[in-house]
Structure formats: structure tokens, C-alpha cells
């Protein structure tokens, strides 16, 4: 059951609080052995400072709470107490209206040094910064997400250290995700993405940060807006390049997928398949994913990628249909994808038959009905829908019980158009080059236009 589960892989890239949600999911669906999960849950709880929850767990498994845990709890509480003393001053400063205005103004025009100077007039001291950062972390751990969020909001424009600013942003993102404010989270995600791009980090660190970003965004895209299908397509838009687009940053994301987190292919593949009927760009995404699978650049294999492999690489439709049920199971157990199970199966079978139609000259309705366990009339209707949505032309020969595909070859007109389409553009480029050259003109200049 745990064969295709990704909890372990995903947790490596997530925050403690998010990890807990995943572990809870695994516990509920009984994917792993309970004892194992409990121990790992305790570990996570401890590092997240969820001592009350830990006590509960110990109570549930009828074990006494170890001494160390109590000690740590006390240490943490002391830490929070000591912070709160210093924090009162911080609150004083940041509750002033002028300060609030200055900070919100600084977001459009960031200048930490100037802002610090300005705030000093209102009793701000540089050492408060550190306190604020620590406090934000502590409040986050205490699940007081709003307070932590404000703290970080105030903190970010004041610090001049880019890496600190980056971690403040990560904190913000975590806060927004955990407090389920997905609108804000999307915004922060965008800021974070551009910040990662701009901050000079080691290539490996950057790669890592991007991998995290993709993982965290899963929460936003799969849970935001109650999971409308249009929403999840943002996952593709954000991280996969469109056809013909040469976006360096998106290539970086692909690089991150290939090298650090190939398991994300599942999510991309599912989203691409689901959105395929409504969104033509998803086909490009599918193509990218298939390419990654084919060249084994991403070392990952599960029923979903195998399905795509069957459809687009081996053209083995029987096997693809068999795989559908396996995919269903995997999706059911997955933390993010549970709700998309039926959508996926439906879209995937459409995809299979779409490709099938493109290759075959005729399709027996009986065959479709058998494969999809539908009645003949249902199958007929389904096929008609498919043909319409996939932009194919076909005729049904009902008497003989098959659908005859009408394949129109590309007309000569289109071919000529295609081959000459680039000519104006190229001529223009040539001309521009001449102009840029200025005085030196060649003798045999020719102009070409269609």
C-alpha cells in the first residue's frame, strides 16, 4: 500500500506544520504501520514545539511523557516568556500610526537603512530586529499565525541581509498557508519566487529553494478555492514553460524537478491530464512531462507516469487502460489528490482514446464500451463528446457499430502558408540589421517580400 506513497519524499521539502498534516493523512488512511508513523509524528511535533499535541499522542498510546520532553517544553516556554518582555517595547513602536505608514510605504520603495533611521525617531532599536525574528518563529510554533505574520511583515523591510529577508518571506508563506489565506499566499509565492531569482545564492541552494517553493505551492494550488480545476492549472503555468517559450527561470524549475524532486512529476502529470480537455496548453505540459519520462531525466515511476508512458511512448492502449485503476488507488491515498480522483480517471480515459482515434482509421463502439465498462449507447455518446472536444472529425456507422475517422491531410494551402509565414519577419530582421549598420551598405542589397 505504501508502494507509491510520497509522504516521506514530500516531507523532506515541507515545513513541520505541513508535514504534520501529511502524517495525519497517512495515519488516517493507514498507509504505513501505525507505530512507525507515531514515532515520526512525535519527532516532528517535538521539533515544531507542539508539546500539548505530544502529550496527547503519548496519552493515546498510553505511554508516560518522557522527562526530556517536559524539560524542553519548559525551556521553550521560558524562551517565549523572555521574548514577550522584550516584545512589549517592540509592540509600542510598531503600533504607532506613523510607523505603520512608513512600513507599508517602504514596501513599494525598499530602503532598509533609511527606514531604520526613520523608525529610530519612534524608539526603534536595531537589536529589536533579532527579537522580532525569534518572536515570529515562536508565535508560528504556537500557532498564532496572525501575530507571526504581522511580525514578519514588519521585519522584512527593516533587514538588509538578503538571506534573512528570504527566510522572513518563507515565514510569511508558511503563515499564509497554515492560516489558509490562499489569496495572500499566492501573492507571497510570487514575491518569493522573484526574490529567489534575484538573491545571489549558490546554485545548489537556489535549486533547493525552488524545490521547496514547488512543494509549498502544492498546498496553495490544490486547496485554494475549494479545488476548482482552473485553479490547479496554475501549477503548470507557474513552473512549466509553454511551448516555444524559453524562460530561464522555468527551466530552473524543471532542473529542480529532475534533480531534486522527481516525485513532483506525479502532481504535474495529474494536473496536466485533468486540465487537458479544457486547456490546450496542458498538452505542452504533457509533452514536457513525457519528455522527462522518456529520457529518464527524472527518475521517478508510478502508475500515473507509467500511464503517460503507455499512451505517448509505447502506444500501448490496453496497458494504459489497465493502469487506470492503479492510478485511482494511488490518487485516493495521496494527500493532495484525493479529491481529483474521478476527474483524473475521466480525463485520462479521454486522453487515451483521443490518441487512439488519431492513430486508427476506425474504432469499434463495442470496443470502447468494453474497455470503459459502459453500455453501447453510453459509449457512443461518450465518443461523440470526445470527438467534439478533441477537434477530430468522424462519422458514426451505427449499423456496423463503429466510428469511422475522417483524416484530412494538411492542405497544400496550409503548407504553403506555413512555409512562408516567417518570411516577413526575417526580411524585417535583415533590414533592421542593415539600419543598425548605418553607413556601410552592401552593393547588392536585396529586398524580399512575399
Amino acid at each position: 500500500m505504501a508502494e507509491h506513497d510520497l509522504t516521506r519524499q514530500l516531507c523532506g521539502f515541507l515545513d513541520n506544520h505541513m508535514t504534520l498534516a501529511l502524517i495525519q493523512n497517512a495515519l488516517d488512511k493507514e498507509i504505513y504501520k501505525r507505530e512507525q508513523l507515531i514515532t515520526s509524528k512525535l519527532k516532528v511535533l517535538e521539533s515544531a514545539h507542539f508539546f500539548d499535541a505530544m502529550k496527547e499522542v503519548y496519552h493515546d498510546v498510553k505511554a508516560t511523557v518522557p522527562k526530556e520532553v517536559l524539560e524542553k517544553e519548559e525551556a521553550f516556554n521560558n524562551h517565549v516568556d523572555s521574548l514577550s518582555e522584550e516584545l512589549s517595547k517592540v509592540y509600542d513602536v510598531f503600533s504607532k500610526q506613523e510607523v505603520i505608514d512608513a512600513i507599508s510605504a517602504s514596501y513599494s520603495n525598499p530602503d532598509p537603512a533609511k527606514l531604520t533611521e526613520k523608525l529610530k525617531e519612534h524608539g526603534f532599536e536595531p537589536k529589536m530586529l533579532d527579537t522580532m525574528f525569534k518572536a515570529a518563529r515562536a508565535y508560528y510554533d504556537l500557532e498564532q499565525y496572525a501575530t507571526a505574520g504581522t511580525m514578519l511583515y514588519n521585519y522584512r523591510p527593516l533587514t538588509s541581509d538578503p538571506s534573512k529577508r528570504l527566510s522572513a518571506l518563507w515565514g510569511r508563506l508558511a503563515v499564509e498557508i497554515m492560516s489558509e489565506k490562499f489569496e495572500e499566499a499566492t501573492e507571497v509565492l510570487g514575491v518569493l519566487q522573484s526574490n529567489i531569482k534575484e538573491t545571489s545564492l549558490e546554485p545548489l541552494k537556489k535549486l533547493q529553494q525552488r524545490a521547496w517553493l514547488m512543494h509549498w505551492s502544492l498546498f496553495i494550488f490544490f486547496f485554494g478555492d475549494n479545488g476548482e480545476s482552473i485553479r490547479i492549472s496554475h501549477l503548470l503555468e507557474k513552473f512549466l514553460p509553454k511551448s516555444g517559450e524559453r524562460d530561464q527561470e522555468k527551466n530552473e524549475f524543471i532542473g529542480a524537478i529532475q534533480t531534486m524532486c522527481p516525485h513532483l512529476l506525479r502532481y504535474f502529470a495529474v494536473v496536466a491530464v485533468i486540465t487537458c480537455p479544457k486547456r490546450p496548453d496542458s498538452r505542452d505540459a504533457i509533452r514536457d512531462i513525457v519528455r522527462m519520462i522518456r529520457h529518464k531525466t527524472a527518475k521517478f515511476s508510478d502508475p500515473i507516469t507509467q500511464l503517460l508512458e503507455c499512451i505517448y511512448i509505447d502506444f500501448d492502449f490496453d496497458k494504459a487502460l489497465e493502469l487506470l485503476s492503479a492510478c485511482e488507488k494511488v490518487l485516493d491515498l495521496d494527500f493532495f489528490l484525493t479529491t481529483y480522483r474521478t476527474d483524473f480517471v475521466e480525463s485520462a480515459s479521454k486522453l487515451i482514446f483521443e490518441v487512439y482515434c488519431k492513430i486508427h482509421s476506425s474504432i469499434s463502439i463495442q470496443f470502447v464500451a468494453e474497455r470503459l465498462s459502459k453500455t453501447a449507447s453510453e459509449a457512443e455518446k461518450w465518443i461523440v463528446d470526445l470527438i467534439q472536444s478533441a477537434d477530430l472529425s468522424a462519422r458514426i456507422e451505427q449499423a456496423e457499430g463503429y466510428v469511422k475517422m475522417l483524416h484530412e491531410p494538411q492542405s497544400t494551402y496550409d503548407q504553403v502558408l506555413d512555409s512562408t509565414r516567417s518570411i516577413p519577419l526575417r526580411t524585417r530582421a535583415l533590414l533592421d540589421n542593415f539600419h543598425r549598420r548605418g553607413t556601410r551598405k552592401p552593393h547588392n542589397k536585396k529586398k524580399q517580400d512575399k
Binding site: 532542473g255 500501448d316 492513430i359 512555409s419 552592401p442
Partner: protein
């Protein structure tokens, strides 16, 4: 006699012409100074009879020796008869003093040499031959008869049997012995003390003396033996000749000698003996200036002060040998007095650096012997440092460490130098000679040292640790099979030299003369080495963790190479891509670029073995394409008119040693085979026009091949591949497979059967594709089972391939499930449509022509675009772009050809269709 010397030297060494000393003295400056007083020039020397005899004998001996050296037997004969006369004449003296050792020695040599030469006498010309014959018959007779009381023969035999008996002086060359005896004589006779002699004149004498014996080529050799001799000398000093030394010291104590003269002598002794390698082995002692006065109490501080004194004086060029000997003696003294490891380490470091400081001889690399010596010293040094943890080694230039036991040296750097010297010698030694193998076997020895250094380096900075690991990595990354190394010592003598000695002296050097003993801490653990993948992994991870920049780059490249060698294709490729080296490699130094090329090529081979033909082709493309693989991999160089001499010599310095070469024939075979598998279906599909992955080189070769009016049975690899390509294009995949699988070069592939299976399968698939693309026009429908039968594939595979082609619109056809056949759709365009298409094509061509024209006029404009496109198309290799120093690596015609391509063509004109 000195006339003789000067006469002979004037040709070879132009140095000391003005020093022509008339008719005086033997070679030795010391003697000269001792006998005469202040004046240097034209002093007539009064000599005793015995001394005169000895001098004359020495002259004759050296003449004989010289004659023998050049196999001038008539002159040997002359000198020999002179010698005979001389001996006859001076019977009286001989009765008193005994036969001079120089004579005994020369007789021994003469016997050997004559015996040797007599065997091959037919080679000599008539005159020489008769002379030789005469000597051959005279010599034994003379030896038997000359002295009645004790025939010379017995003395000679005694000497031959036991040359060590009188090692004090006998191992010396005649000149040395002579001077030494001379010295004793002087002492006995209490000859007048010589005043100080300036060092210069000393040196000049020394020059005159030695230069006749050593021609330039042997300079290295000389150095070698000097160094070595010194080493052994210390040993002797320590052990066997203690008594004599004491005795001498006693004498010295009573009658201290002029310092300069002595040093001169030391120098002489050191430099003078280089004629015979065999002799080197035995030790000698020599009189040197004592480091400390007799009776002086030797303390730790004094030793250290002396050391400082010595090191500060080390830059005087001619005194290298003396300097080293002094250091060695100092070390012995320090050891004798138990001053611990610190002075010893200091002295070792000074010795090692003094070897490295020396100019490298004309051969371009450090001599083998010296290398071995330095190696031994380094092992000793590191051994000491390992044992004595309190000695701090720092390589900070400021030298601010407070500890009084700190040595300012970069140990790793020393090991690197040694490593470098080994590579350099491998580069220079003929790769087909046994010398190369002998030298290569020293790699194990060096490896041991590196491992030892790695153990020691734990106390050093992370940077040094990384460097040691990189050294180690670079010694193993290219090795595929593990052979358990046997512990062995560094080579002392190369086979060619051994042969030389055998020829000359007719005896096999002892094994211990060929190799040094195994270095004492032998730390190479075969278990660790056998798991080479694990080892490389550990080494690399350490470096990645602690280092950045060049070292990390080199490590990554070695790692890629290694992974590719072990067929870990995805890992190797990911590492290559992750490290983003393709972007930055053009800024790297050239050795690193070469390493990059090597890694790239290995990656290509690995991709091929893994069946990733496209990647294999892409990786090999740039390197193989222009036929400059050898150059780019630094496995050979071409002389081109645009290369200056210095460029060529630089290139030579960068050559990859032969044992690390990647077979270029194999590369070509892989490249062309991969190209065939990619290009032939494309040609079938698009004709000879442009296609997506067009490989001009391959197409050009194929066209050339097709133009030949008659195809003889293919012989070369490339011809075979071209024949195979043609066969595939004609749909004859079986013949294609035969040609390809028949290639001999696949033997060089590890895991050959798997490669052949992969190839056969690929050929089947691509053959099917080619067949369908080329011939679909002739069919209305083809059943799948017919195809399967024809290409010996199973139905499922055929269906997969055909489906893919249909889906990609490569084949305008559909699969009919009722009849299990592929139905071809064809449209017959009207003549208007054909004309329209043609016109569109022509317009495109015209535009292309314009672009090309523009590019030819204003080179740089479209070039930018073109280059950009190139970069995109060739993600792997940016080798030829970039920095100025690299110009050499950019092929003359290559840049033009690529850059001439108009900026916007490429994929645009390709037939479009849904993917």
C-alpha cells in the same frame, strides 16, 4: 695532462679557456693550491717521483677510458702501451707504494670492455679491429708478466673481486682517488699548507674537469647520481666507515685544512663521478668540511643555527651537491644526538625543496633517480610528521604562528610537485618503450605517498585536504578495472638504462639497483581500492563539501568521467548538468577544459552504451566532428602553419599521458554510428534537405561516399559505417547490421555483447522507420505482420513504432484495426499546388541566400544570432567559444561554417505538423 683536458673541453665547453694551465698538476684544484702558494697561474710544480708516476698513470688511464667510450681502439692501444711502459719504468715506486688504484681500475675496465668489444669486433673497421685484436692479445700477457714478484693480474683480480675493500678511495673515479691519495701524501709529507683559494677558480677547475665527461644530454644523469651518491654517502658515514672518519677527523683536528679547498674537493667528488652507473651504487666517503669543530659540544640550538646558515646559503648555484650533503650530515648529527624529529623535518624539507629548485634538465622532466629520492624523502618526512604531532606545519606566508615547532612549508604542494613530475615524465617518455611501463609502475608508489599524505592531512586546512583528495582522485578516476597493486619501491633505473649498462658492462644490475626498497609505511589498502566507486564517491563528496572553484570543478569532471566509465549514465549526466559546467567551462584554464572534453567524451560513450543515441551524438559532436578529437583531448597535436613554436611546446606540456588516452577510433565509430541511426531516417523522410537534427558532417561524408563510382569492400571503420548507412537507406537492415556489428573497435567497449544487442535492436527499429518513410509512397496498405516478419520484430514493437510515426505525422497513414494493416493516405497534389509549393520553397531559399550574403559581408551581425542558436542547439559543449587564450581550440573553418548559417533558419522551414 691538463693540456689534454683543456684541449678536449674546448670544443664542448667554451667556458674556461683562459684557465689553460700549462703542464701542471692533475685536475684537482686542491692539489694545485696546496702545492703552490698564492699565485694561480703558471706555477711549475715540483713533484715527487711517485707523484709524477701517479699523475702520468692517471692521464693514461683516463685516455684509455675516453678511448673506450668512443670505441676508438687505436687510441686505446696507444695509451695502453704507454701505460705498460710507464708501469715497467716505475717498478721501483710500485714496489714501495703498490699499484695505483687508478691503474687497477682501468685494467679491470679494460678487460671488461675488450671482452665485450671483441665479441662484436666485426662491426669495427679494419684499423680499429687490428688495434683491438692487439690489445686483446697483449693485455693478459702483460698482466701476467709485468711484475715478477706479484703479477699485476693477481692485483687486478683482487681488485675485481673485492672492489669495496678499499672503498675509501677505490670507488672513486681515478681522478678523485688520486686527489685523495694525493691529499694523504700531502699530509704525510707535511707539505706546505695551501693558502685560501678563491671559490671561483675552484669552480672553474671543476668545470673543466667534468665537462669533458658529460655532454649536455647527460646533465640530468649527472645530477641524479650526485644526489644519490650523497644519500648513500651519508649512510656510509653513519655505519661502516666510522673508524676511518674518526681517524681522519683526528688528522683534521691537528691540522685543519683550508676551507675552500675542501669544499672544492667535495664538489669535485660529487660532480666528477658520473661515468658509471654501476659504481654509483657503492658508497663513498669524502672529505668534507666538518660542520662542527672537533670537540665542540653540539647542542640543539647549534644544530638549528647551522641549519639556518646552510639554508640561507643555498642559493649559491654551484653548491647544490655540497649543500645537500651538508644538510644530510647535519641530519645525521642531529639524529645521533637525539634532537628529535623537528630538526630532521626541517632538514628534509630543505632537501626536498633543493631538489625541486634545480633546473629541469633538457629532457623536460625530473630524472627518475631524483624523483625516487625526493619520493623517499617525502615519505620519510610525512612519516615523521605523522609520528610527531607536535610539529606544526603551516603554509601561511606571514609565518605568524607562535609555536616554536612550526615549519613553514606546504607539504601538499610538495606532493603535488612530485605528482606533476611523474606526469611530465610520462608525457615525455616514449609510450611504446618498456621505460614507459616501468615509469608507470611508479604511479603505485606515488599513490601510496598520496594516501599517506591524505592520512596526514587531517591536521591541515580543509583546502589542503581537498587538494590531496583531488590528487588521489586524478590518479584513479580513469581506471575501470582494479588490479591489486603490489607494494613496490620507486624505480631507480629505467629499462633502457639497464640495457645500456648490460651492454656496456655485460652484467645485470642488481634488483636493488633498479628499484628502491618498498617505502616503509605502505598504506594502500587493496580492499579500499577495490571498491573504486565507493572510494571515488567519498573523495568527491568531501571535496564538494569543503571546496569551491577550480578544485570542485575538476573533481566534478573526474566524477562525471568515472560515473560514465562505470555506465551510470543518468547519474553522470545529472552531475554534468547540475554542475552547470557547460556554461562556465570556457572561462576555465585549458587543462580543465581538456578534462571537460574527456569527461564529455566519456559521457558520450556511456550514453551510447546505454542506448541513448541522440545524447551520445550530441556529446561527441563537437569533439569528433572536425576531426580534431586528438587535439581536443590532448592526445596528440597537429603541426599547423598558424601555430607558433611556443604554442606547440605549450601544447606538448598539456598532453594526456598515454595510459589515460581514450581511443579516438572508438569515438569515431560511436559518433558515426549514432549519426547514422539519427540521420538515415531523417534523410528518408526529408530527402537531403534540412531537417531538425541535421548533422552536416555526416551528410557530407555520406554524399562523398555515394559519389564514388565503385565501392570496394569497406575497410576502414568509417567506410564500413557509410556502407551500413547506405544499406539501411536501401532498406537492407540485415546488411547494415552485419557491417556495424562487424566493426573491430567494439572490442574496446566494455560489455561488448550488450552493446551489440543494443545496436542490432536500434538498427531494426530505425531500419523499419527508414523503410516506411522511404517507401510508404509505393504502398496502399501494409499489414503489420508482414512488417514484423521483414524486420524480425514482434507485433507489439512494430505497432508501437508505427503508431508513434502516425501520431507524429511522420507517416501519413492510419492503422485499421479490422485488417491489422497500416493504410496509407496519399494525396495527389494538382500541378498548381506543386508549383505553389515550389515557389514558396524558392522564396525561402532566396531569403537564406540573402542572409548568407549579409553574414559574409558583415560578419558579426548574424553571427550573434547564429551563435545563440548554436548554443541552444548544442547544450553540451561550449568549448570553442570564449576566451582569447582558447583561440587555438577553435578550428579555422569551423567557426565560419557554423556562423555563416543565417540567423533565423533552422527549424522554421521544417514541415510543420502536430507533434
Amino acid at each position: 695532462m691538463s693540456r689534454f683536458y683543456t684541449a678536449s673541453t674546448s670544443e664542448e665547453s667554451s667556458s674556461e679557456e683562459e684557465e689553460e694551465v700549462p703542464e701542471v698538476t692533475t685536475r684537482s684544484a686542491k692539489q694545485f693550491t696546496r702545492v703552490d702558494s698564492s699565485d694561480e697561474d703558471e706555477q711549475r710544480v715540483v713533484k715527487s717521483k711517485a707523484q709524477k708516476f701517479r699523475d702520468d698513470a692517471a692521464v693514461q688511464a683516463s685516455r684509455i677510458r675516453n678511448g673506450m667510450k668512443v670505441a676508438d681502439w687505436s687510441s686505446v692501444e696507444d695509451s695502453f702501451s704507454n701505460m705498460c711502459k710507464l708501469l715497467e719504468k716505475s717498478k721501483k715506486q710500485i714496489a714501495e707504494v703498490g699499484v695505483p688504484i687508478s691503474c687497477l681500475k682501468i685494467f679491470v675496465e679494460l678487460q671488461d670492455e675488450v671482452k665485450e668489444a671483441y665479441r662484436s669486433r666485426k662491426k669495427l673497421n679494419k684499423q680499429q679491429g687490428t688495434s683491438l685484436n692487439r690489445i686483446h692479445s697483449k693485455l693478459p700477457k702483460f698482466l701476467k708478466t709485468v711484475f715478477n714478484r706479484k703479477p699485476l693480474e693477481t692485483s687486478v683480480n683482487e681488485y675485481r673481486e673485492n672492489p669495496v675493500e678499499e672503498e675509501e678511495s677505490e670507488q672513486e673515479e681515478s681522478e678523485d682517488e688520486e686527489s685523495e691519495e694525493e691529499e694523504e701524501d700531502d699530509e704525510k709529507k707535511s707539505a706546505s699548507k695551501a693558502p685560501e683559494e678563491s671559490e671561483d677558480s675552484d669552480d672553474s677547475y671543476w668545470d673543466t674537469d667534468t665537462s669533458d665527461e658529460s655532454d649536455d644530454e647527460e646533465a640530468g644523469e649527472r645530477n641524479e647520481q650526485r644526489g644519490f651518491r650523497g644519500w648513500v654517502a651519508t649512510d656510509f658515514l653513519k655505519s661502516t666507515t666510522q673508524a676511518k672518519k674518526k681517524q681522519r677527523e683526528g688528522k683534521e683536528g691537528s691540522k685543519p685544512k683550508p676551507q675552500a679547498a675542501k669544499e672544492g674537493e667535495g664538489e669535485e667528488g660529487d660532480e666528477g663521478e658520473e661515468k658509471e652507473v654501476t659504481m654509483v651504487v657503492q658508497g663513498k666517503t669524502k672529505e668534507e668540511k666538518p660542520l662542527f669543530e672537533k670537540g665542540e659540544e653540539i647542542t640543539y640550538d647549534k644544530v638549528m643555527n647551522k641549519f639556518k646558515e646552510l639554508t640561507s646559503a643555498r642559493n649559491k648555484r654551484r653548491e647544490k651537491g655540497a649543500h645537500r650533503r651538508a644538510l644530510r650530515r647535519l641530519r645525521n648529527i642531529s639524529d645521533d644526538h637525539g634532537f628529535g624529529a623537528f630538526p630532521a623535518c626541517n632538514i628534509l624539507v630543505a632537501l626536498i625543496t633543493s631538489y625541486f629548485d634545480e633546473d629541469i634538465s633538457a629532457t623536460g622532466y625530473m630524472d627518475i633517480m631524483k624523483w625516487a629520492l625526493v619520493h623517499n624523502l617525502l615519505v620519510e618526512l610525512i612519516g615523521l610528521l605523522l609520528k610527531n604531532k607536535d610539529i606544526v606545519v603551516s603554509n601561511s606566508t606571514t609565518g605568524n604562528s607562535k609555536s616554536n615547532k612550526s615549519i613553514n612549508v606546504d607539504v601538499v604542494r610538495l606532493v603535488e610537485r612530485l605528482d606533476d613530475e611523474l606526469t611530465r615524465s610520462l608525457r615525455n617518455i616514449d609510450q611504446n618503450s618498456p621505460d614507459y611501463i616501468a615509469r608507470l609502475s611508479d604511479e603505485v608508489v606515488l599513490y601510496n605517498l598520496i594516501v599517506l599524505t591524505q592520512q596526514y592531512s587531517r591536521t591541515l586546512t580543509a583546502d589542503s585536504q581537498c587538494r590531496v583528495r583531488l590528487l588521489r582522485l586524478e590518479r584513479i578516476y580513469y581506471k575501470r578495472t582494479f588490479l591489486a597493486p603490489t607494494p613496490r619501491g620507486p624505480t631507480r633505473m629505467l629499462p633502457s638504462k639497464v640495457e645500456h649498462i648490460m651492454e656496456k658492462y655485460d652484467r645485470q644490475p642488481k634488483p636493488e639497483d633498479i628499484h628502491f626498497p618498498v617505502p616503509s609505511p605502505w598504506v594502500v589498502d587493496n580492499k579500499v581500492e577495490a571498491d573504486i566507486e565507493g572510494l571515488v564517491d567519498r573523495l568527491c563528496k568531501f571535496v564538494y563539501k569543503h571546496c569551491k572553484g577550480r578544485m570542485a570543478v575538476r573533481t566534478a569532471l573526474c566524477h562525471v568521467f568515472h560515473l560514465a566509465l562505470f555506465d551510470r549514465w543518468t547519474e553522470a549526466r545529472d552531475l554534468m548538468l547540475m554542475s552547470r559546467l557547460q556554461d562556465t567551462i570556457s572561462q576555465a584554464d585549458i587543462p580543465t577544459q581538456i578534462l571537460f572534453n574527456r569527461a564529455m567524451v566519456q559521457l558520450g560513450l556511456c550514453a551510447f552504451r546505454a542506448g541513448n543515441v541522440i545524447q551520445a551524438q550530441a556529446a561527441l559532436n563537437e569533439i569528433v566532428q572536425m576531426g580534431r578529437a586528438k587535439e581536443l583531448l590532448a592526445q596528440g597535436y597537429k603541426f599547423r602553419h598558424d601555430k607558433s613554436q611556443s604554442q606547440i611546446s605549450k601544447e606538448k606540456m598539456r598532453q594526456t599521458p598515454f595510459h589515460m588516452h581514450i581511443n579516438v577510433g572508438l569515438l569515431e565509430a560511436v559518433y558515426y554510428t549514432a549519426s547514422m541511426l539519427i540521420e538515415i531516417p531523417a534523410i528518408a523522410q526529408y530527402g537531403t534537405g534540412r531537417s531538425r537534427y541535421m548533422n552536416r558532417n555526416f551528410r557530407h561524408r555520406l554524399e562523398e561516399f555515394c559519389r564514388e563510382s565503385y565501392h570496394a569492400p569497406p575497410e576502414t571503420t568509417r567506410e564500413k559505417i557509410m556502407s551500413a548507412s547506405l544499406a539501411m537507406l536501401q532498406g537492407d537492415w540485415v546488411r547494415c547490421r552485419e557491417f556495424i556489428c562487424d566493426l573491430g573497435v567494439w572490442d574496446l567497449m566494455p560489455n561488448k555483447p550488450a552493446v551489440l544487442t543494443m545496436l542490432a535492436e536500434k538498427i531494426q527499429h530505425e531500419g523499419l522507420r527508414t523503410f516506411l518513410l522511404a517507401n510508404s509512397g509505393y504502398f496502399d496498405s501494409i499489414t503489420l505482420d508482414k512488417l514484423a516478419e521483414r524486420f524480425e520484430l514482434d507485433m507489439k514493437e512494430v505497432r508501437g513504432i508505427v503508431s508513434k510515426m502516425i501520431f507524429r505525422r511522420e507517416l501519413y497513414a492510419f492503422y485499421d484495426p479490422m485488417t491489422a494493416a497500416v493504410v496509407m493516405y496519399r494525396q495527389q497534389p494538382s500541378s498548381l499546388q506543386v508549383a505553389a509549393k515550389k515557389l514558396a520553397d524558392k522564396v525561402g531559399q532566396l531569403l537564406d541566400a540573402n542572409d548568407r550574403l549579409y553574414a559574409a559581408r558583415f560578419y558579426s551581425g548574424p553571427r550573434e544570432g547564429g551563435q545563440q542558436q548554436d548554443n541552444r542547439r548544442r547544450p553540451y559543449n561550449r568549448y570553442s567559444h570564449g576566451q582569447r587564450g582558447n583561440q587555438r581550440y577553435r578550428g579555422g573553418g569551423q567557426g565560419r561554417q557554423w556562423n555563416n548559417r543565417p540567423p533565423h533558419t533552422g527549424a522554421r522551414l521544417r514541415r510543420t505538423g502536430p507533434q
